[in-house]
Each structure stands twice: as structure tokens, then as C-alpha cells.
């Protein structure tokens, strides 16, 4: 089993690691992301998107289930899937995407237990965030923003804390690939 574990200290590092992964990804690859609410799955996908050089803001695709980002460099498109609201997913093709998965890099959030059967070769990425409260969220008191829409003081955005990321390459495609150890 080809596996590596990395520690990513903030969202910048998470995006950087996504970029490093993107350098390994090619058309037809499937990436399955797992992790609790707020682990950083979309953040990692933003990094993958930046590395692939795709068009559009990589945001949560929960509402439309899947968003297709075409490449700006002639490379593979990014198909960003959120299986969060899906009870079952027999075939990714059933999503009726405007893109061929053979010609795209497909990243599925919340896909564990749903999509493994789709591809013999896949990258399984588990992101673990710190458990329990961050520092700023325990402060009480009046909280309204100033008239210019800004906070009077620097604000913890709730995403702080080191992420432990376990990357597992499954199948012959990934057997001999050296997985990145830092972003």
C-alpha cells in the first residue's frame, strides 16, 4: 500500500499541498476526500484546482452536487463532486456531468463508502482536523461588525489548527508514485 501522512498547519499549507498533488494528477484520475465537517476538503480541492490551472472559483459544490472546471492550459478539467447530499451513488456517470471523466480529474468530497467501486485506481485522502473548540469561538460579548463591514479586531476564521492528512494510493496506477510529503 502506497501511503503517506503529512501535517498541514493552516489553510495556506493545505492549498499548497493540493497544488503538489495536482502535479501528479492526470486525466482519468479519481480522488476521494474524507473528513468531518470543516476538515478542509474544499480547501484542499482549491489547491488541486490552482495546480491544475482551471477556470472558476472552487467553492463547495454541495448545491449543484458537481461542478466542472475546464482547464485554462489545455490540461484535464477538474470535476468537483460533493456526495454529501447523495444517499447513494451507483455510478458517477449518473450525475449527467457535462464532462467525460476519462478526460478529467475527478475529486469527490464525502465519497467514502460510495465511490470506491468506481475505479480500481484512486487516491484516498483522509483529512483530520483538531477536535473541539478553537480559541476565539469561546469569547462572549457584543459582536456586531463596524459600518464598513469589517471587524474591529483580527478574527479567527474558525479554520485554524493543524490538519493531519493521510494520502493512500490504491491500485497499480499509484503503486510506484512518490506521494508528496510537504506542500
Amino acid at each position: 500500500m502506497n501511503e503517506t501522512v503529512v501535517q498541514l498547519r493552516d489553510t495556506v499549507a493545505t492549498r499548497g499541498y493540493g497544488k503538489a498533488l495536482a502535479a501528479l494528477l492526470r486525466a482519468g484520475d479519481l480522488v476521494v476526500l474524507s473528513g468531518a465537517l470543516g476538515a478542509g476538503k474544499t480547501t484542499l480541492t482549491q489547491g488541486i484546482g490552482a495546480g491544475l490551472g482551471i477556470r472558476g472559483q472552487v467553492a463547495s459544490p454541495t448545491f449543484i452536487i458537481a461542478r466542472v472546471h475546464p482547464s485554462t492550459t489545455g490540461g484535464p478539467s477538474l470535476v468537483h463532486v460533493d456526495a454529501y447530499r447523495l444517499g447513494s451513488l451507483d455510478e458517477l456517470e449518473a450525475l449527467d456531468l457535462d464532462a467525460s471523466l476519462d478526460e478529467s480529474v475527478t475529486v469527490v468530497e464525502w465519497g467514502e463508502g460510495l465511490v470506491e467501486g468506481l475505479a480500481e485506481d484512486r487516491l484516498e485522502i483522509a483529512i483530520e482536523r483538531p477536535h473541539g473548540a478553537g480559541r476565539a469561538s469561546d469569547l462572549a460579548g457584543p459582536v456586531e461588525l463596524a459600518h464598513d463591514g469589517s471587524a474591529g479586531q483580527p478574527d479567527d476564521d474558525g479554520s485554524s489548527g493543524t490538519r493531519t492528512v493521510t494520502v493512500r494510493g490504491v491500485g497499480p496506477r499509484w503503486a510506484a508514485i512518490v506521494l508528496p510529503v510537504v506542500g
Partner: protein, 356 residues
């Protein structure tokens, strides 16, 4: 082909971007558009059983509901198919399958009746529908469209030809954050209305949850963008910490404090955008505008800033056909060329393209 500029042109609007099949008939007047009837069929009950939208189920539900909903809308408006002068349909953004069902129906009607077809942006419809309720828009306005799929701030010089996207969410939409927090609090899907209900009984200042993208360093690049992902994470971690300590979760206070954070950021950034652009009218649309904290805070802050606040009644904030007919009617009144009969649907249609 019908004379588009004849007074009284009837426009049929068809909306199928998600789980509601909406069909409405409006009459284009010289100044204002009049809503004749609005019919909606929802597959929400079927999705609730699965804890979320299943695209395949939504597509089939639209297919089954389409003809009866069109008939319902026409009967309600007291008109026949051949009275229609134009068809407007949601071209995006939304779920590809449902969008395809709606656009196929619209194309068939346009061809059969030999009337123009307009492919319309769903998100713009959420703002445009307010013209049917509260009358014609002023020359310039700000629109905040907030729903399960969208959180966008739009500067509107013209609802069809002059929409500028000032900002949008970089991660989760406002309604989506509510649904996700609802799930982590163990509330049924969709979580939004449940959190709203608990929040009314809680203390919004009990817990200081973060306000995304409001720090000084974010003002240059993201003054009008939103981020609710960090907030969602903060709520998850706060709840975990209490659970780990074996404490009871104060549901009402968590819900109220979370909802306060969302309403605070949405209204503060929107009012700031109005002030900086010299705008004195704000329209809030989309399903999340049903949220009571957002409504209350927006009303208070608009009053303080001298901004007229327009929020359509809730039935016009959730997805409906009237919002699509409203954009179609605005296009007809401006004499804009119709869309091609082979117009594509676009699941991630950019907001600055109002028509395809």
C-alpha cells in the same frame, strides 16, 4: 412570430433548477409587469426521505410535474397556450438534469407556438421577482441573493443588461452552512428552518462565533465576498468540545449565535457596499431571505443607513416560475433578442450573464 412589443405580451416562466417545478404567467405592461398566476410543484418530500436532493429523483419529478404545472398556471391565469407571447426558462445555474427537463419543455413550447425563447439566469431571477411584488426597480440598486446554493452581492444598473457581481461566497453558501450546521446538531433536513426556530429562543450573543472575511487584511481583496466554511467549522468544534466534556449542548444559544454571525456578515458587507456605491435601495432575495435574523438585522441596519429595503414575500423567495417570467418580461420590454432555440443549460452559469 408574435409582435413582441404589442402591449400586454404574456410571458410564461419555467423554473426547474433544483427541486421545485415552477411555472408562472406574467403580463408585460408599459411600465410594470403584472403577475397573473404562479404554480409550484415540489419534490421536497421525496428528497427529505433521503436527507437531501437526489438529482435523478429531481429530474423525474420535474418530468412528471411539468405538463400539469403548465396547465395549472395557464388555467389560474385564465389564458390559453396560444395567448402566450414568449417563453422564459432557467438556463442555469443549478442541477444539470432538472435544468435540461425545464429547457426541453420550454423549447418545445417555443417551437410549437412560434414565440421567442429566453434562457434566464436563476440567481438574477431571485432579485427580479421583486419587481412583480413591489413595482419597477429604481435606476440603481443593490441585490443580495442568498439561498442554499448562492450567496451573492450584485450591483444592478439594469436587471437584464447591467448586473455586476461585487462578491460571492468563496466556499459554502449561507443556506448551505445552515443545512450543514443543522446536520451536526442532529436536526432534520433541511436544517435552515429548524435552526431559525431554535435561534428565536436563544441568546445571539451567547457564543462569539467568527465573522468570515471581515478582518482588515481581507478588505482589499474580499470586501464583498463571503466565507461561511470557517464559521461552520467553529460551530462544529464548539459543539464537540461540549460533547467531549459531557455537557449538554445549548441548542437555542448555538443556533442563535450561529445565525447572528451569518446575518451580521451578510448585512454589514451589503450595507457597506450600498454606502460605497451611493445606493439607496436594497433587494434581498433567495430562499435564505426567509431567515428571521437576517430579515430583522437587515431592516434595522437599512433604516439606520436610510436605505429602502425590499424583500419579496417568502413564496417568491423560494424557487418559483414568477422569478424567471420576471426576467423574461424585462427582456421583452427592453426589446432584447431572444436566445437560440438550441440554448445550452449551464450548471455554473456566471451571474453577469443574465440571458443566454
Amino acid at each position: 412570430m408574435a409582435d413582441l412589443h404589442a402591449p400586454g405580451t404574456l410571458v410564461l416562466g419555467i423554473e426547474t433548477s433544483c427541486d421545485e417545478t415552477g411555472v408562472a404567467v406574467v403580463r408585460v405592461g408599459p411600465d410594470a409587469t403584472e403577475l397573473l398566476f404562479d404554480a409550484v410543484a415540489s419534490s421536497m418530500d421525496e428528497h427529505a426521505r433521503f436527507g437531501g436532493i437526489i438529482p435523478e429523483i429531481a429530474s423525474r419529478a420535474h418530468l412528471e410535474a411539468m405538463v400539469p404545472t403548465v396547465q395549472h398556471a395557464l388555467a389560474g391565469a385564465g389564458v390559453g397556450l396560444t395567448d402566450l407571447g414568449a417563453i422564459a426558462v432557467t438556463a442555469g445555474p443549478g442541477l444539470v438534469g432538472p435544468l435540461t427537463v425545464g429547457s426541453a419543455a420550454a423549447k418545445a413550447l417555443a417551437v410549437a407556438l412560434d414565440v421567442p425563447l429566453y434562457g434566464v439566469n436563476h440567481v438574477i431571477g431571485h432579485a427580479a421577482v421583486d419587481e412583480l411584488v413591489h413595482g419597477p426597480f429604481p435606476e440603481r440598486l443593490m441585490a443580495l441573493v442568498v439561498s442554499g446554493g448562492h450567496s451573492s452581492l450584485l450591483l444592478v444598473d439594469d436587471i437584464v443588461t447591467g448586473v455586476t457581481e461585487l462578491g460571492s461566497t468563496l466556499d459554502d453558501a449561507a443556506g448551505e452552512a445552515f443545512d450543514k450546521v443543522g446536520r451536526l446538531l442532529g436536526l432534520p433536513y433541511p436544517g435552515g428552518p429548524h435552526i431559525d426556530r431554535f435561534a428565536r429562543e436563544g441568546d445571539p450573543t451567547a457564543i462569539r462565533f467568527p465573522r468570515g472575511l471581515t478582518a482588515a487584511k481581507d478588505q482589499a481583496e474580499h470586501a464583498y465576498d463571503f466565507s461561511f466554511s470557517g464559521l461552520k467549522t467553529a460551530v462544529a468544534r464548539w459543539v464537540e468540545a461540549r460533547q467531549d466534556a459531557g455537557e449538554e449542548i445549548p441548542l437555542a444559544d448555538v443556533a442563535a449565535s450561529f445565525a447572528a454571525a451569518v446575518a451580521d456578515v451578510l448585512t454589514a458587507k451589503t450595507i457597506a457596499a450600498c454606502r460605497r456605491n451611493g445606493i439607496d435601495t436594497l433587494v434581498i432575495g433567495g430562499g435564505f431571505s426567509a431567515n428571521s435574523q437576517l430579515r430583522d438585522l437587515a431592516a434595522a441596519r437599512c433604516a439606520e443607513a436610510g436605505i429602502e429595503l425590499r424583500i419579496p414575500p417568502i413564496r417568491f423567495c423560494t424557487d418559483n416560475g414568477a422569478m424567471i417570467a420576471a426576467v423574461g418580461a424585462a427582456a421583452v420590454r427592453r426589446g432584447l433578442p431572444p436566445s437560440a432555440l438550441d440554448l445550452p443549460v449551464d450548471s455554473s452559469m456566471p451571474l453577469e450573464s443574465v440571458l443566454v
